[in-house]
């Protein structure tokens, strides 16, 4: 059974269009991340689902009920706000009980649910404290707890990790992953951090420029970006895009880039539109620093980024085209070095003039 279904949702503020004809279906118990830069409309979409904004057109269905005419409290959704939005004058216990009391849940039931949630989230000692007396991480967990006790059909998380420091963020990421296992509900998380989305989500919905760019499991988004935007937004560092000419006929597209390097891709040639001008998409792992024997191209090092498990090399090809390559972890390169690169055509992506992406078959 489908969990959430969006049908042709459209929203504008005044004359500014925010969302254009968004449709989406979530599976039961699915964890979906809305990923996009700020201003992309992803938060607005979340708020439409929550009922905090009204769509100008379109429908929102949750488990076979149309919920867009309902007020937020009756939709069966719970939300964890970016700044947690805990009621400062209420204790943790009262914060969690507030929504249940409004829903007229019996007292002992409220007690039970709070106790359960507190145990799961390990916030039992905090129950009688006020939000002002807690750390950011504790507040975060209380906010999750407040959503949890409502036993909603859908969890909405608005940038849940953005207010935490790096260490806490990793830990909370783990907790969110565990939460997903425990709850019998779908989860939507809004984030602008692609790593978060990749780690946690079953599927990622990449949103930009008023509309959904691509929907798919993390690796599919990574491996088969639907367009230039997705290709560059997902993955770190961003994919290098190099202008290229379609070189020769064959089953697979072979492209020639500015410094004369010819790259044989595994993208079926017949899928490409009839044009000679494309862009070649190369992730760093597709460009390796090699000995001169294996090299396909030459480049000059501009910056070396040592990440420990691998080394990223930012360089320029002969014609001045910037490119990002990967070297072994113990790379000894330094700025100004002349290096040999090997471009792995099998891992290359092709984008047409409109930005649409084409990928190797299979994999």
């Amino acid at each position: 059974m489908a969990s959430l279904e969006l049908k042709g949702v459209r929203k504008s503020f005044g004359s500014t269009l925010i969302l254009e004809d968004v449709s989406l279906t979530l599976d039961a118990r699915e964890f979906v991340a809305f990923l996009g830069p700020s201003g992309s409309g992803k938060s607005t979409l979340l708020r439409i689902i929550a009922g905090l904004e009204t769509a100008d057109a379109g429908e929102v269905w949750l488990e076979s009920f149309r919920i867009d005419p309902l007020p937020p409290g009756e939709r069966g959704v719970a939300m964890v706000f970016q700044h947690y939005a805990l009621y400062p004058h209420m204790s943790v216990r009262e914060n969690m009980a507030f929504g249940l009391r409004n829903a007229r849940v019996p007292k002992d039931e409220i007690e039970r649910r709070i106790a359960d949630a507190a145990r799961v989230l390990e916030i039992e000692p905090l129950l009688d404290r006020k939000p002002g007396e807690m750390s950011g991480g504790q507040r975060q967990r209380v906010a999750i707890g407040r959503a949890l006790v409502k036993e909603p059909k859908l969890f909405l998380l608005d940038e849940p990790l953005s207010n935490l420091d790096a260490a806490l963020r990793l830990r909370t990421r783990v907790e969110l992953a565990q939460l997903k296992q425990r709850v019998d509900a779908a989860v939507i998380m809004v984030t602008h951090d692609q790593a978060e989305a990749m780690t946690l989500a079953d599927r990622i919905v990449v949103i930009n420029d008023r509309t959904i760019q691509q929907v798919g499991p993390p690796m599919e988004i990574y491996n088969r970006p639907a367009n230039v935007f997705v290709a560059q937004f997902v993955g770190s560092p961003a994919m290098t895009l190099v202008p290229a000419q379609l070189a020769e006929n064959g089953d697979y597209a072979t492209l020639k880039i500015g410094d004369g390097t010819v790259v044989e891709t595994r993208v079926p040639r017949d899928r490409l539109p009839p044009s000679a001008h494309f862009r070649l998409g190369l992730r760093p792992e597709a460009v390796r620093v090699v000995g001169s024997g294996e090299a396909t191209s030459k480049a000059k090092v501009e910056l070396v980024e040592r990440l420990g498990e691998r080394t990223l090399v930012y360089a320029r090809l002969g014609d001045g085209q910037p490119i990002t390559a990967e070297d072994q972890r113990d790379s000894r390169l330094k700025i100004g070095d002349e290096i040999a690169l090997r471009i792995d055509g099998a891992a290359a992506h092709v984008f047409d003039a409109d930005g649409a992406g084409y990928h190797r078959t299979g994999a």
Partner: protein, 277 residues
């Protein structure tokens, strides 16, 4: 109140000036207390007699013996409390409406309220008097309280304050299934306590010290507030029981508000800090 010593120490000259200033502040009050402790006859033509004994509490005894002063005190208290409660309620409701809800003509209505900030009382007091006569509200507590409830400043103040409360809280409450009223009552209102206390202090002191409206509305001595009652007493001074008694009345009438002031001094100062935002 943490970083207080940021401007260095006060020079001895500064302290001296402060002490003199404080003496100037206190001298009239002390003088009034001394006069109130003297026998009326001893003061006739010789008020300097107040500077030395013998002192007596007779004037205070007389106030309790037979006088409307206590009644006026009660009236002032009722009016001041009533106005304070009313302003808090009305201003909070309206502030929430203007800060958070969207309804037809909201901006226009808010501007109309802001215009009220500039209307001085005397521009409306004569027609108000006429109106209250028509409503048969003079010489009544509602008649004394109602005009004070028109506090555009209160509405403006609460609106500004509530706008400063994160909207996420309202949204969280909406998702928690709270009605507009529950959101207002259980979530937003408790967060405005600092603003409420500021507004309460202003309103209470304003109501307590209001003079013109009670002067023309409360025309029966059992409905006088302290301000009006004491005004009648001092303008009758030539024919009244005497200087000492008059001062005893004034001192007696000031004691409750001084007590309130001493108890709430910290809150008042803090409340003022809240206003200067």
């Amino acid at each position: 109140m943490a970083a207080d010593f940021r401007r260095g120490r006060l020079t001895p000259l500064g302290w001296a000036a402060l002490v003199i200033g404080a003496a100037l502040m206190l001298a009239p009050l002390t003088w009034a207390v001394l006069l109130s402790l003297k026998d009326n006859a001893a003061l006739v033509g010789h008020s300097e007699a107040a500077l030395h004994g013998p002192y007596t509490l007779d004037n205070y005894v007389a106030i309790f013996g037979n006088s409307l002063t206590t009644r006026w005190l009660l009236n002032s208290t009722i009016v001041a409390l009533g106005q304070t409660a009313g302003v808090l309620i009305l201003a909070s409701l309206a502030g929430y409406g203007f800060a958070r809800l969207d309804f037809p003509f909201r901006r226009t209505l808010f501007v109309i309220v802001l215009i009220g900030l500039a209307v001085p009382s005397q521009a409306v007091i004569l027609p108000q008097h006429e109106l209250f006569a028509w409503l048969h509200l003079h010489n009544s507590y509602p008649g004394l309280i109602l005009p004070g409830l028109i506090a555009p400043f209160g509405v403006f103040f609460m609106t500004t304050y509530m706008r400063g409360i994160p909207r996420e809280l309202d949204e969280a409450a909406m998702l928690d299934g709270a009605s507009r009223w529950t959101t207002f009552w259980k979530v937003i209102l408790p967060l405005t306590v600092p603003a409420q206390s500021t507004l309460a202090v202003f309103t209470f002191l304003g109501a307590w010290n209001d003079y013109w409206w009670p002067l023309i509305s409360a025309t029966r001595s059992d409905m006088y507030t302290l301000t009006v009652g004491l005004a009648a007493a001092q303008m009758n001074y030539a024919q009244t029981s005497g200087l000492g008694y008059l001062m005893a009345q004034a001192v007696f009438a000031s004691i409750p508000i001084f007590i309130v002031y001493i108890i709430f001094q910290k809150q008042i100062v803090r409340a003022m800090a809240g206003t200067a935002v």
